[in-house]
């Protein structure tokens, strides 16, 4: 019982610390107050590298907007929130950003698990949340009013993979029929399998092998051999970076060269993938949200590269675009009031380029949030026109090869692996 006294002491110190921690009260709006956007990504922990790329796109867009006068004269201020890749932390950070820092909108997150919990928090406080990165389908099935998704969801990624195969088959005059799937047992791996079963019949293709493995596997020989045995026309894959490298090396060891490999980004689009698989990954294709050789966004990427020393990647291009969407919503709403900004987002229709802003640099030309249906499930407030591009590794570099109208390079077919 006596130790309870010390607990009392601790509780007092604890609350004092928390109170001291943050009490940024929002002042009355006088027309020059910054508009605050909370950006929630993993800035530390295993996903920090991804968070860094995302934040570069965010900072780059904010700088561009503030240079040209901000939103009706008000600058945009980004309040960073580090989710540490942990849902508990994500919830805590969202509540702090909204109630202590007084952000007017939230951009985030990366992992869909965290995005879903943050979406609930935003719903409760009537603060709009826009995600530029989270792709898991079910995020948009809960009927959240304040949650918007700019990026394509997983089923669109997979449908785009199938469209690519169909277009490729038509162009070559030899239709692609037999598909193998190679995916891990994680959340997104399961999504690929689920979506492939929806779209394969639609595109007249047959799944001849469905190979699952545990993420972090030390050997993938038997998995590769079972794909080889099924002899597919194309392999669709989804792997984290270590597994992607191991898969590619195992293909080389086994001397198996599938004519087409299309990965659903992730590990295959990781900056360390190509250096780790010199030569042997040539010919492998992957979904990309954006690529430096895309015919769009060249000037913006040049300025970006000058500032950061690297090209934009898919995530930076997406977060760049998302900030412009929020800017336009604040402008059109004429206020920072949550429900009004939410209505502005719901009514927004951007074609070609943002008002007083850059063109849409992603592979699509129009942004409008609306309801859609995929395989009998209804989704709300997704970007109706979102799509991805497909790039192929040629001479150790990703070259955009699809859709044909935004690409500048011919597909290597069959893939050469050298």
């Amino acid at each position: 019982m006596r130790k309870l006294l010390s607990i009392a002491l601790v509780a007092i110190i604890a609350s004092a610390m928390v109170f001291a921690g943050g009490s940024a009260e929002s002042k009355a709006e006088d027309g020059t107050e910054p508009i605050k956007i909370g950006a929630m990504y993993a800035l530390s922990g295993t996903n920090a590298a991804i968070g860094t790329n995302i934040m570069r796109g965010v900072d780059f867009a904010v700088e561009m907007i503030n240079e040209q006068g901000g939103v009706n004269g008000r600058p945009i201020e980004i309040v960073r929130g580090d989710t540490q890749g942990d849902p508990k932390v994500g919830r805590s950070v969202a509540e702090r950003l909204i109630t202590q820092d007084g952000v007017h909108a939230i951009l985030g997150c990366h992992q869909s698990t965290i995005t879903q919990i943050v979406a609930q928090v935003c719903e409760q406080y009537q603060i709009p949340e826009l995600t530029a990165i989270s792709t898991v389908d079910n995020l948009s099935t809960f009927g959240f009013k304040y949650f918007f998704r700019m990026c394509p969801m997983n089923s669109i990624y997979v449908e785009n993979q199938f469209m690519y195969l169909e277009d490729l088959g038509n162009e070559r005059g030899t239709p692609i029929k037999r598909i193998a799937i190679f995916a891990d047992n994680s959340n997104i791996g399961q999504e690929l399998i689920r979506c492939a079963h929806i779209f394969a019949p639609k595109y007249g293709m047959e799944i001849v092998a469905e190979v699952q493995y545990s993420s972090g596997a030390t050997d993938l020989t038997s998995e590769v051999l079972s794909i080889k045995a099924a002899n597919p026309d194309a392999v669709l894959c989804e792997s984290y970076i270590n597994d992607a490298i191991l898969f590619t090396k195992t293909l080389a060891e086994q001397g198996y060269q599938p004519p087409i490999v299309v990965a659903k980004a992730n590990g295959f689009a990781d900056p360390s993938y190509i250096p780790a698989t010199p030569g042997i990954s040539n010919g492998i294709a992957s979904v990309v949200e954006w690529n430096p050789d895309l015919t769009k966004g060249q000037e913006i990427n040049a300025a970006f590269k000058e500032k950061y020393g690297v090209d934009m990647n898919g995530h930076s291009a997406e977060s760049f675009t998302a900030i412009w969407i929020l800017k336009t919503a604040f402008e059109q709403a004429g206020t920072t009031d949550g429900p009004a900004v939410r209505d502005a987002l719901a009514a927004m229709d951007i074609q070609g380029s943002f008002p007083n802003g850059p063109e849409i640099i992603l592979p699509y030309d129009r942004i409008k949030f609306g309801d859609m249906e995929v395989d009998g499930t209804s989704h709300s407030q997704n970007n109706l026109y979102a799509s991805v591009a497909i790039a192929q590794i040629q001479n150790g570099e990703y070259k955009t090869v699809w859709p044909f109208e935004v690409s500048s390079t011919e597909v290597q077919y069959p893939a050469e692996y050298k």
Binding site: M1, R2, K3, L4, L5, S6, I7, A8, V10, A11, A14, S15, M17, V18, F19, G21, G22, L43, S44, G45, A48, G51, V79, R80, G81, D82, Q84, P87, K88, V89, R91, S92, V93, E95, R96, T99, Q100, T113, Q116, I117, Q120, Q124, V136, N138, F142, N185, S186, N187, G189, Q190, E191, S214
Partner: protein, 340 residues
């Protein structure tokens, strides 16, 4: 307890405890426009409760489990499945989840306690990972996609609230309830048996305590509390996925007990309050400026405590001048008040 035994010191001590309780109960009224701080308190409540559950095994019985996140995750899953698939009342589901997880842990671990030494720790890690892999591959439980609990209107029966205050009070009731149970256990024959087992199993057997039976009982109680916290977590966050059972989260429940003082029933409470507040504070202050620095500072604090106060903060406090000062000067303890 007879009233005549109450010396002025004891009365003052009770007043102090009553004041603390009143403060905790009144806090939501003062913090109604600070939901973030309420969230920190809720975090402290359920993390400390989990840590008390761990401490029953780790601190009192000397069986260091590194798989408590799995019991908690399993509890969350069982409760969430009953709610979403069977449409069962969440309170009832919580109770069922406690029984199922407690029973399952008892059955699985019964043979493991035949082993002595660090084997329990190893098995607890393996058990946690096995459960996680099982759930990841279990279609009915949504595989790696997890389970979302239904949204809807506020309802006590449905364990669903818009504001933080109800969760705060439920969390508070949980931590106080579990604390009282732990205190009771600690002073009972059961508690003395567990501590005897911790010190020397052979001696315990020699004096008629069956180590095996007591260890299994302790594990069952501990995992039942973990299942309760897991259900609370699921209802509070309304979304769970198998990552909840990651082994790294198990460590989060060990630390409060170690830092607070694993030998004390109150250790996890002190440790939980300090560590959660510290990690939130560090992230708020430094997380945005230099990402990751908050984790480094957190680790430094842990290292310092473990290096210089290996008995935990309470172990240090109970022999410190501060405690002496509080007791003799503030509460005017007299010779007659020596505790038993």
């Amino acid at each position: 307890m007879k009233v005549s035994k109450l010396t002025p010191y004891k009365i003052r001590k009770r007043i102090a405890i009553a004041l603390l309780l009143v403060l905790l109960i009144a806090l939501p009224l003062m913090l109604s426009n600070k939901p973030y701080i309420m969230n920190v308190f809720i975090l402290i409540f359920y993390t400390s409760t989990m840590s008390m559950a761990w401490n029953l095994l780790g601190g009192m019985t000397g069986q260091n489990s590194l798989g408590h996140a799995a019991y908690m995750g399993l509890g969350a899953y069982v409760a969430a499945l009953f709610v979403t698939k069977a449409g069962m009342n969440p309170w009832l589901s919580m109770l069922l989840s406690m029984l199922i997880v407690g029973g399952l842990a008892g059955v699985i671990f019964y043979p493991c306690f035949l082993l002595k030494g660090p084997y329990f720790t190893l098995v607890s890690i393996a058990f946690g990972e096995t459960i996680r892999q099982f759930v990841i591959n279990w279609d009915f439980a949504g595989k790696a996609t997890g389970i979302s609990l239904p949204f809807g209107a506020e309802s006590f029966a449905e364990f669903r609230f818009m504001g933080k205050a109800p969760y705060y009070y439920i969390g508070l009731a949980m931590i106080i309830g579990v604390y009282l149970v732990m205190r009771k256990i600690s002073r009972s024959k059961f508690g003395f048996a567990l501590r005897t087992i911790r010190e020397d199993e052979d001696v315990a057997s020699a004096i008629g305590i069956k180590p095996m039976r007591y260890k299994v009982y302790a594990l069952i109680v501990s995992s039942m509390i973990a299942a309760m916290v897991g259900s609370f977590y699921a209802y509070y966050n309304r979304y769970i996925d198998p990552d909840l059972m990651l082994q790294s989260y198990s460590v989060e429940f060990v630390l409060p007990a170690i830092v607070g003082g694993a030998a004390f029933v109150e250790g996890p409470l002190v440790g939980g309050a300090i560590l959660i507040t510290l990690s939130e504070f560090l992230r708020n202050e430094f997380g945005a400026i230099l990402p990751g620095i908050n984790l480094i500072l957190y680790a430094v604090v842990l290292l310092v405590v473990i290096r210089f106060r290996p008995v935990g903060l309470l172990g240090w406090f109970s022999t410190s001048k501060l405690k002496n000062f509080l007791e003799t000067k503030v509460l005017k303890k007299s010779e007659a008040d020596e505790e038993i």
